[in-house]
Symmetry: D3
Subunit: 335 residues, 6 copies
């Protein structure tokens, strides 16, 4: 039986057999005291609630939340929508899981983006920083994580490759800022742009579903980024290149201060011109990405405003009348 994606499950009674990502699971008890599992199953095309009666604590413990399960059952209905009634379930084996069926993938070409980022960083001038950049490219695992990680669980660039796309966006905008404000230290700003969110490769889980790791919840990507930086600086020094401690502190500061205020989790306020600039550029890149995404996601062809948007604290203005009129014309043309 070929795999049916969730968007293809539309007929009550359909047989279901396949691997799903277990987005949520809860062990509950019926009024009579029997255990049952309430879960949410996900693939790339959507999510459905699921229920398995006659479950055991041991089965529940075996099914990995945020991991994959092989599910047999059929499509049922509940509360006005569909749900999967699970008849049997076990953890999926590694060779049964095809990741491209499960994770959102960004629109960009990672190799092309990485090449642009490399070109920018390779133009850094100070020898110590050039050695640091070389140490980055030499670390294949790091480069692989950078290409793969999302930039956030939900807020912006929340797809595989999002971290690289956001990092490149910030770096290229920083390059533009250096041209507008030549007193900025280009070396430091570019390196800060590169490293500001690198800790997200450890803060976020994205091997299976997007979420936060324990390290992410307990330590966070700012300090994780500093720990990663210190690891690389140690390697540079071990290789015989001088790396002044003050330069290390200035780079740590760029990472720690990039959220701009204590309120947003930075333990230090930006006190260098580059840290201040990086904070603004990072915020602008993330927010503009989210702005254009949320405007594009609004399906209504005539209204000029989206619904209430939590990130911006109001409805977003989708655009000036003429643009909307063009959309309407296209639509009319299609009738």
């Amino acid at each position: 039986m070929p795999r049916l994606f969730i968007e293809q499950l539309t007929t009550p009674g359909q047989n279901i057999e396949g691997v799903f990502l277990v987005a949520e699971k809860d062990l509950r008890t019926t009024k009579k005291g029997a255990f049952f599992i309430s879960a949410k199953m996900r693939d790339r095309t959507g999510e459905l609630p699921a229920v398995m009666w006659d479950a055991t604590q041991a089965l529940f413990a075996a099914i990995p939340q945020g991991g994959y399960a092989l599910v047999k059952g059929r499509l049922g209905e509940y509360g006005g929508g569909f749900q999967i009634t699970i008849e049997a379930m076990r953890p999926a084996k590694e060779n049964e899981v095809h990741l491209e069926e499960f994770l959102a993938v960004g629109p960009g070409n990672p190799e092309e983006q990485l090449a642009r980022l490399k070109k920018l960083l390779d133009s850094i001038e100070r020898p110590a920083l050039r050695a640091l950049v070389a140490a980055i490219w030499a670390d294949e695992a790091l480069v692989r994580d950078l290409k793969r990680a999302p930039a956030a669980e939900k807020l912006h660039h929340a797809y595989l490759g999002g971290l690289l796309e956001h990092t490149l966006g910030v770096a290229e905008t920083c390059e533009a800022m250096v041209k507008c404000y030549p007193k900025l230290d280009r070396d430091l700003l570019l390196l800060g742009a590169f490293w500001h969110d690198l800790g997200k490769t450890r803060e976020l889980a994205y091997a299976q579903a997007f979420g936060y790791t324990d390290a992410g919840k307990l330590v966070g990507h700012l300090v994780q980024g500093v720990l990663m930086l210190d690891g690389k600086i140690a390697a540079v020094r071990a290789s015989g290149t001088d790396f002044p401690e003050e330069l290390a502190n200035v780079l740590r500061h760029l990472i720690l201060a990039h959220h701009g205020t204590h309120e947003f989790g930075s333990p230090k306020l930006p006190m260098t011109a580059e840290a201040f600039t990086l904070n603004h550029v990072d915020n602008l890149d993330a927010k503009l990405h989210a702005f254009f995404r949320d405007v594009a996601a609004d399906a209504d062809p005539v209204r000029r405003w989206t619904g209430f948007n939590k990130m911006f604290g109001g409805s977003l203005y989708k655009g000036f009348e003429e643009a909307v009129e063009e959309k309407e014309k296209e639509l009319e043309g299609g009738l």
Copy 2:
């Protein structure tokens, strides 16, 4: 007697005769009930306290605060410093005042800056907005004010020509942002950059000393800017060019929302991508200007930090070791 500037008043007993800007004035009474005037006198080179005994309420009222007075007296001492003991004083006549002796002047060339700004704005495409731009250049008084006004009383670009310099900085950085984020509406963003602080020509007093006008205190530059915009839109419409009301609202929004939050005095939060971008670019241009100014103003050649800086909430980091070392070398070379 040639005019002595305040920085030249260094010998107690020196005779003083000349025009000063009356930065502050207070009418007080001695223990015995006689009136005396306590004032602060200013010229381009500094400020000194001044006192005039045996004053009258009428004389006090006649002397214009924020205006100019012809002062006769001599240099005295008080509280460990110098003060001017005024023997006679009257309002200065217009032909006695030479403004260049009193007001700080920015470092740029206004004509060159205006030309760059014009080039940017003249590339705007929509006909209604082109008509609006034409109406600006046709208003000689407005262009004169734009070239002359400071951008703030104290915070940033606080000198004659500062408003133009800041407006150009914001506009050029916005142009760079459009290249980084092509979904931004270039016409709107450039016009917003031009108009965001234009109300400062009415909010700030800068004919004589920098300060706030009554309109500035009661209404503020955001709403003044909107009133000025509405005046120009009325003129465009009167000339027969169609100017849609929605376009007007989007421009008003750019002006009103450019402070970004209610806390900083914007009656509306930015809800268009251009308003959000303008808020960040404006903030960045103003703060970077202040950052580099305050770092440059710090006279100590060896310390890496300025004193506590109120705008940034801490000491500013003056720069990386090597830069400071270069300065030291220059200094050593000079010994």
Copy 3:
């Protein structure tokens, strides 16, 4: 078939044919990819969800959100309640819509309220301000809007005529305040009371359903009020009456500062005694209106507290024991 109001739709299967206000509409897709419209239909007596299967994007675009549609269908059930299953729908023609069937109407008599407001304003003394008042009464469209607009979408006086009722309440309380505090400038305070919310005639949409206009979202009623004031001042000046600029600034300030703090959207804090007083009286009139409305809306005859009230941050105390006991007695009398 006579029009059935929503409160009369109580039997599943009832045929429905009539005009409804389209309070919300969404275009969605079934699992199989077909479009359907999910909507909320409203009249004066209530609101029901509605669904139309087999819809098209063009039909969806044609139906005006916040406008009126002629609907044919029957009463169905969904999720434990009623919903309208729409069989056919088109935009209503102007002569098919009877507004009194759709919009909440305030309890007062607008003509009587307007007369009281006129009497107060006509007692203003300064010639410039008398000319301004005359210009108001001469503007029939303005007076019509004032009589018709609500004072808010939901918070207080949210019905046709609410703006006039609130404006009169504020003006009469201001008049009482002048008697308590004779140093207040009566002319300014009364004119401020009149104009403080006048921009709501442009901020709010109330021709069909209550909501915010584009101008309301982008500019807001404070600045809209100032623009309306400037229009009238220009007319007064054009008629030859002197209107000093400082007087205009003081009036603009009254409008801009009447929310009292930046946090509530005022770009200026109240810095005149009249602005400070107006802020308090406005707040008191709006909140007392809401307080008594919410207490009256609580149907339970015995509890002394309403449920949690968001505006006041807690449960409202409905009144002292004896009052509740009186209510109970009335009730017992009726058994």
Copy 4:
């Protein structure tokens, strides 16, 4: 028919006859205008929605919210769950209500806890305070309330006996603090620990269901505690023992300042070392109780984090890997 608890109601159609606590009640009208009552019925084992058709306003008024009703009906279904369909209902008589069937009871032994608390307080040294302590123990109603009251409606120690358990916890931790910081005034700190939440015996209703009294909503437990203190001080003075007014003020301050900030409802900030210490110890005891309760309540044996916890602003970390592994081992052992 023996009483069935709510957790035993599992078969649609079951007959129901028994006393329930009326947790909520609302009088509503059907589309046709008839009254019906929608309610929530509760006992010690859970809560179910209930509905009674053909109700009257008089019956509604007679049924005590937060009190007990004798209910006849049967178990129905609604919205995917069970609900009680009430056929007849009247207020329960006092002898029909058995409180142990309705209220959560804390895990501790009140007599043993009271003895420990007494031992601590009886070691207080100053004569005036010893007289105050004696007056407490002599007040049987107060001691009974202290043993019975919960410490909060929901936040922490929300069960009968919770106030005593929390009071003892705070007092014993304060005793430990005195050993760590001997400059603290032990007499004052212990008495403050005893009295800090005593006003909750009047703020909270716990005779039938947990909730707030009118006095609790209008006055609050801080000021109620001060009024109770003043009553006892008056008694001590009346008995001839000197009780200095300053001592009274210092004790009042301990009660009024124990929430630590204005934001949390203290009218005074802690300005004595004992008030500052009491604020911290109270907070720690309440939060650690809630922390361990919420971690224990999480049923999932493998996840290391609870869901989002409002009191702490995030997910709680349930414990270090080895602890979780032990739990898993236990579980495996049971399979």
Copy 5:
């Protein structure tokens, strides 16, 4: 030697002998280790620094801060101003102190104000509250304190009689509010107006100099007011008049909530219509008093703005041009 007031001390070397209020005192040590006293001496006309060399700890302890001292010495100079060099000093005896020489006295007539307040309160209707009012007037000490106390140490009505003036202002404005909003409970609002600041008779010290008592700092006037209310309610009940507990709670709430927010020290937010109204009227009366006082205190006849005013967060607008012009004309007339 007749008493010289501080405003008469204008000649260095003048002999001084008289009673002064000791506004501040500090015991300090010279570089050589000798004690000296640094103090501030005050009478009704002003304040001067004072110094006494060769002081002892015992003398320092004997001199009452906030009390009166008989001082012998002469007028010296220090730091550009005058100071009293004390040669001998001892605590003043009671018959040496004439209070009218030391405390600011309000402009009103307390007997006339009290009569107006009495007339308002005597019109209260509920018997329990009438008994409460009667108990107030029967308490001569309370009436005397009410007539004498200031309303604040510095903020507003900071003079003898200020509390009565403010209480009357609030009560009369509340009476006006009842006419504007007839649903308000007049009895409760008037009694709340009377009692809201009554605790200031215990919070503030005003027998000698204005300041805070220990009770004021530890407990505050809100809770002090409630304790005073409870004392009077106990007396009413003792006299046989029924005083329902709920009525007591509603009155306590009016006192406790009258600051309006936790931030300003209210332990409860206003949840009755009367409490909400009282909060606004109290704030308005206090702020308008301060506004007109600070505008009147500004000596400059031409400027339209005061200096920065901390209470209002900006410069106060002194009034419209014509008013200022009138002042100028008066002034010109006088020249």
Copy 6:
């Protein structure tokens, strides 16, 4: 000439020759354009302003701020106090500086405190953590820094040895908390207590004068502490002891979250029971230390309140009447 301490400089004209700590230095220019140095000189007994005329930029650069200078000059007077007029000055040589003349030293015995701390930490049970503790004691430089560093520049325990004293106080109070709340993980809490401020050995400069290092300003002691922890964990692992990553994360969290809120600079909120407890105990130890210090520093034997205290937001209550009376008796006894 024997060294004169600053408290011995009491006679204008005294010759001065000795080493001083340069607490502040500024290079200024006279009216005539000559450089002069304005400085503050400090030793253990106090601080004096100093001025050196005819200075050069090179000399200014050579004198180390926060370091030591050999000064020749004499005692002058300025602005009503003493100042040092410097005639010659050069950086002090290492053998000329005796640190005990310059830095405040705590009251405790570091060896005894260290022994108590060791005893507590050596009772930790988990092998990985025992290895970590062993690695601490093996690091002589770390132990030396711990014994020597202050706990803060000014706020609390601001003297040599203060960090050890504060660390011990927190650890011992945590031990007491574990006894009160046995569910707390003793190993983690003790190790967190030990490490929470360890980064201050790098954040603060205390070799010469107390201040912040560059690393302190750019990175801060929270993240410095984590970097130090990671260094030691790497060493433990290198020695062959297993140290689970999750255990490392939990320890990092204890350090990063110990300020309790974002506002106070923690990048993570406490989400383990131990982190929450550590935050409260740390705060309590620091604040009680400051409370008792500031009360003890108040020299006035009779007043019950200190002046306004910024850390606590008000005047501190120095203690109950009887305590003050005892002090007075002692004083009287001494007269």
